[in-house]
């Protein structure tokens, strides 16, 4: 139900909006509401009863296709929230875009809904091939959404994204093929049970293919080159979805593979963990380093995504309980924070038509609410205590200490300092620098349909910092189960 609603809704959008295209956004909003209700119902059930499964048309695995809801699937909660707000945000923003002719707007909502359906599908599927299908739904709609904005280099960015993304999907498919060859099964639980007596070397190749494939999706250094252009060029609500949710698809994929392989104990994952740790650390520093030199506000946010994904991957690679917990929470919190920032940036661009920090100087005086929300987002992403970002980074740092890798805790703090520098630049530009262009003082605050998503998310950044234990109670059992099956790993 939770997948079907947006999927069917997406296909129906152009038909519903055939008579009057103004229906399309409301329809999309309605579809997302239904999905959110279903998602909340599922999450409540997971919280009360633990993981459970649903079998497509009653076939029992390994023959049938399984949908499995567990703690990792709780990601759909964030997907629904950000997705719903992104649809609401699109009301005004998409109308304003030059590159998109008005009659085609319903198709934009189709793509957006398809994209969200794919992400939800990936979070809850229990079947490897299904994972690939949903991965492709997300990727294809993502490429198209990047091209929507009509900026001059949008098509080029979309094409670059498409080439690299398609190769990564192929690698995932290759990995699935290898796993199928080794085990004769595609159901995740079943594969995990059968892997125990699979030969190690082909399995290692398969895991390698999965890792590289998912790392491209997650934009880990050195496979990040597609991200800054694609995320900066896309329309702002799309940037928020891409940056907050779509890159996490790679992380979810990695988590699933870890679940399978840890469960079987067939291969020693320590080597891979080392690689992930280092790549994560390099991503943090490189992403932050490039972000410092960006003047374009969305470009800066895009590079900041790379460094934040670095945190998540490093947490996973540390493979200590605190590290993995921190990484999992950061998946949630980064989605909230980055969506706040991209929505905010979009609102600034919408009202002023400017996208560089130097031109935006002084905008805090004319758009106080947006600027305040973005400042909260900035504080939160740096990880200053009362906000959401602090908790995850604290946990990942604890994880580094726990795994007796203090160097990585150092890399983390170092990265946080860099991040601090460039967000300070942003806040400084908003409030303290004299406006370059006097017109900037005359612009109005963002319209309500854009302001509401920004403020809701900014408030959540604060609330998640204070109520940090809430996601913890959800994630802790999953992580404990994952690591205990690893044999004390």
């Amino acid at each position: 139900m939770v997948v079907l609603a947006p999927l069917v809704g997406a296909v129906l959008t152009p038909i519903v909006a055939r008579r009057d295209r103004r229906v399309a956004p409301w329809w999309a909003l309605g579809v997302m509401s239904v999905t959110s209700v279903a998602a909340v119902a599922l999450m409540v059930r997971v919280a009360q009863e633990g993981p459970f499964s649903y079998y497509m048309s009653g076939w029992v695995p390994p023959i049938g296709i399984e949908f499995r809801f567990d703690e990792v699937s709780a990601f759909i909660g964030v997907v629904c929230l950000v997705g719903w707000l992104a649809v609401l945000y699109s009301f005004r923003y998409i109308e304003w875009l030059r590159g998109l002719e008005k009659p085609r707007i319903p198709y934009y909502y189709t793509l957006l809904l398809l994209n969200l359906a794919g992400i939800i599908g990936i979070s809850i599927t229990g079947d490897l091939f299904n994972l690939f299908v949903f991965l492709e739904i997300v990727s294809l709609s993502g490429y198209a959404l990047v091209a929507v904005s009509g900026e001059r280099i949008a098509d080029m960015a979309a094409f670059k994204y498409l080439l690299i993304g398609a190769v990564s999907s192929l690698l995932v498919l290759l990995g699935i093929g290898l796993v199928y060859a080794l085990t004769g099964s595609l159901n995740m639980a079943d594969v995990s049970a059968r892997l125990a007596d699979a030969p190690a070397r082909p399995l290692a190749v398969a895991i390698g293919a999965f890792t590289v494939g998912f790392m491209v999706k997650a934009a880990i250094f050195p496979l990040h080159i597609w991200l800054p252009d694609a995320h900066a060029i896309a329309p702002s609500p799309v940037s928020a979805v891409l940056s907050g949710l779509v890159v996490k698809v790679g992380i979810i994929g990695m988590l699933r593979i870890y679940q399978i392989v840890y469960g079987s104990g067939a291969v020693d994952m320590n080597g891979l963990n080392q690689v992930l740790m280092w790549l994560g650390a390099i991503s943090i520093v490189m992403g932050a380093f490039f972000a410092v030199f960006q003047d374009d506000i969305k470009m800066m946010l895009a590079y900041s995504t790379i460094s934040n994904i670095g945190y998540i991957v490093m947490g996973l690679g540390l493979a200590s309980s605190f590290g993995v917990i921190g990484a999992s929470i950061h998946v949630f919190n980064h989605a909230l924070i980055k969506a706040t920032l991209f929505f905010g940036a979009g609102a600034l661009i919408f009202r002023t038509g400017k996208r560089t920090l130097s031109e935006l100087a002084g905008v805090g005086r004319s758009m106080p609410l947006t600027a305040a929300a973005m400042s909260i987002g900035a504080i939160s992403i740096v990880g200053i205590p009362p906000t959401a970002g602090f908790l995850c980074k604290w946990y990942i740092a604890l994880g580094a200490v726990q795994a007796e890798q203090p160097f990585f805790a150092f890399a983390l703090v170092f990265g946080a300092l860099f991040i601090f520098i460039y967000y300070i630049r942003m806040v400084n530009a908003f409030y303290f620098r004299p406006p370059v262009d006097p017109e900037i003082l005359a612009v109005k605050e963002a319209p309500a349909s854009m302001l509401v998503p920004i403020l809701v998310l900014a408030a959540l950044c604060l609330i998640m910092g204070v109520l940090g234990r809430l996601p913890l109670t959800f994630i802790e059992p999953a992580v404990t189960r994952l690591l205990s099956t690893a044999g004390g790993g």
Partner: protein, 117 residues
């Protein structure tokens, strides 16, 4: 070593195809050629997975009069059917992007495009 490779000639072929595709994708500067490279890579992975399902002397697994085992494994084929559908839609999207790039910039050579940026 050579013998092992010869026995698995189908897998060797798909690895070779994969490498050819990757080479084309990286070295060619024409966007369409890059994309053809990607298509070759896709085909190689498809061929690899279909080859997994082959059973020596197997029949097509269609039930009916005169059907008798051994059958070849139908699952990889059905998976790849889905995969081909995905590849077709990727191709369609990529080609339409290339058309738009050509309309906007008047060229589809990657190096010339980079100069224009």
């Amino acid at each position: 070593m050579i013998e092992a490779l010869w026995q698995n000639i189908d897998y060797v072929a798909s690895v070779l195809l994969f490498c050819i595709g990757l080479y084309a994708m990286i070295t060619k500067s024409n966007l369409i050629k890059k994309f053809i490279g990607l298509n070759i890579m896709e085909t190689s992975v498809f061929a690899f997975i279909v080859a997994l399902g082959v059973v020596e002397g197997g029949d097509a697994p269609i039930m009916g009069v005169g059907a008798s085992p051994p059958f070849i494994n139908p699952l990889p084929q059905s998976l790849i059917l889905t995969g081909i559908v995905v590849a077709v839609s990727t191709t369609a999207l990529a080609l339409s992007l290339i058309i738009r790039i050509h309309k906007q910039c008047g060229t589809i050579e990657a190096d010339e495009l980079r100069e224009m940026e």
